[in-house]
């Protein structure tokens, strides 16, 4: 016997966070991971109800969810590779030409911050170059 609402609320919070990530983030991979997080919330609900009713149906539904998620992951991966090959970007905003008629295009106004990258570290030469002794034995 478990307390049902606690698990349901953890599932709801996971689902809500995943929803926020899916709606707001623009990297396709992050969006996909957020969708998977929503699925985790759903699985948690199924398992909690299954335990609450003492019935295996919840676990079996969760098993099928995992199967579908695996299919989805494989397909999404292939699509992301194809998209990246075409546009050299994983930004979902690149595809806004596919939006509906009469919806204005979103324009990014703020300039991106520029990060000054440190150059690779170089060791300063110090001392004299050691003289290499001729190897005595040669094989």
């Amino acid at each position: 016997m478990i307390s049902l609402p606690h698990f349901l609320i953890v599932g709801a919070v996971l689902f809500g966070l995943g929803l926020v990530g899916f709606l707001t983030r623009r990297n396709l991979i992050t969006m996909f991971l957020c969708a998977e997080m929503m699925l985790q919330g759903v699985v948690l609900n199924f398992l909690a109800f299954g335990k609450y009713h003492g019935h295996l149906g919840g676990q079996i539904a969760a098993l099928f969810i995992i199967t579908v998620a695996a299919c989805e992951a494989g397909l999404a991966l292939a699509m992301f590779l194809a998209i990246y090959r075409r546009t050299k970007s994983l930004d979902s905003g690149v595809w806004q030409e596919l939006r509906e008629d009469r919806i204005p295009a979103t324009v990014d106004t703020d300039p991106l911050p520029t990060f000054l990258e440190d150059p690779d570290p170089v060791l300063t030469p110090a001392g004299a170059r050691p003289i290499r002794a001729e190897e005595e034995v040669r094989v």
Partner: protein
């Protein structure tokens, strides 16, 4: 019958907690989401911690602690905090590789919760499939496509305020629904009116404790060193305990309404599982009477012949334990899942296999380069 909206009036404290959680969560995630201007990690983290505290406070004041003992409670809160905390990192992290790593930790934490929900097979499967396969392949894709410096996809968000409002409004609605329908810790004066609207479970915790205690009494009675009067005393104690759960064989079933298992479940006997619980409870009720009678007659003899009575008590103990375990998931998780999959859900298994095949073919077809010969 409870009218559907009988308990819609909400306690001001609970309402305040829900609203505060929604508002603080929305603002917190708004400040955390990546964008060129106006991002504040410190403020966002502070607000997110406040949200987590609000939700935990709402849970504890409304529903109490999730488990009866400290260790399980500590584990639950640890795993829940881990899942939610790493989920927040996944949503706000502008580096997608770090996001993928934190998603792996979300999976790990929620697998801890799976284990607490008696699903060890799913825990292992999820860890293997998600952490071992999905997250690692996505890290590969990230390696292939990582851009240097700031980029549109990682350092901008689409409508951060409205997006986070959508997610947290959804969460607030679920909190509210559970508040209205869930089994609350009752602190209100008119508590008698409000009943949990969730469907009844077969065996309540109190019943289960009584049944296990009765089985313990019978264990003591079956002790080979026990003297006959001790045996009778223990058996009678077990009988008083069982009386409170399954009722007495002599009296009609509705003698004490709402107390016995059979009476509580009488209206939902169409459910196969509930019917099996009721049948088992009836079995225990009858067996209790016959075995106690047998024991008493055996003890009244000049030379007590206890063997047969002992057999009966042993049978009664077995049935009591079976009744206590009805309404629980089977202990052999993998075996039971396999049996159910291939007996009740065979078509679904076949369909899932077909789906996997189609997805594989589709992935190969999509991923191959144009013009190359597959």
């Amino acid at each position: 019958m409870i009218p559907p909206f009988a308990s819609l009036e909400i306690d001001p404290i609970a309402a305040g907690q829900i609203v505060a959680a929604v508002v603080m969560g929305t603002l917190g995630l708004y400040f955390l989401l990546p964008r060129p201007r106006g991002r504040s990690i410190a403020l966002g983290t502070f607000l997110s911690l406040g949200t987590a505290g609000m939700i935990a406070g709402f849970l504890i004041t409304t529903f109490g602690q999730p488990f009866p003992n400290l260790v399980e409670n500590a584990l639950f809160w640890l795993f829940a905090a881990g899942a939610v905390g790493f989920g927040r990192v996944l949503v706000m992290q502008s580096n997608p590789a770090r996001g993928a790593i934190s998603f792996a930790f979300v999976i790990l934490s929620s697998c801890g919760l799976f284990l607490m929900l008696a699903a060890p097979f799913l825990m292992a499967a999820t860890i293997i499939i998600y952490m071992g396969a999905i997250v690692v392949t996505f890290l590969f894709v990230l390696m292939l496509s990582q851009a240097k410096g700031a980029s549109d996809e990682n350092d901008r968000s689409r409508e951060p305020l409205l997006g986070s409002l959508a997610g947290f409004a959804f969460m607030g609605l679920i909190l509210f629904t559970l508040y209205v329908t869930g089994p609350r810790v009752e602190t209100r004066a008119d508590a008698a009116i409000v009943e949990p609207l969730l469907p009844a479970t077969g065996i309540r915790t109190a019943d289960k404790l009584l049944l296990v205690a009765a089985a313990n009494d019978l264990d003591l009675a079956l002790d080979p060193d026990a003297k006959p009067d001790e045996m009778l005393m223990q058996a009678k104690q077990a009988r008083t305990r069982l009386l409170r759960v399954v009722g007495s064989a002599g009296e009609p079933l509705d003698a004490n309404p709402g107390r016995t298992i059979q009476d509580r479940l009488r209206n939902s006997e169409t459910d196969v599982r509930i019917a099996s619980i009721v049948a088992q409870a009836d079995k225990v009720r009858v067996l209790k009477k016959t075995s106690l009678d047998r024991l008493e007659t055996a003890l009244l003899d000049r030379e007590p012949k206890l063997d047969e009575a002992r057999e009966q008590l042993k049978r009664l103990r077995g049935e009591v334990l079976i009744l206590a375990g009805r309404g629980e998931l089977p202990a052999k998780n993998v075996k039971a899942i396999g049996y159910a999959l291939y007996s009740e859900h065979l078509i679904a298994v076949e369909l899932a296999g077909t789906l996997l095949l189609v997805a594989t073919i589709g992935a190969v077809a999509i991923a191959q380069k144009k013009g190359s010969v597959a």
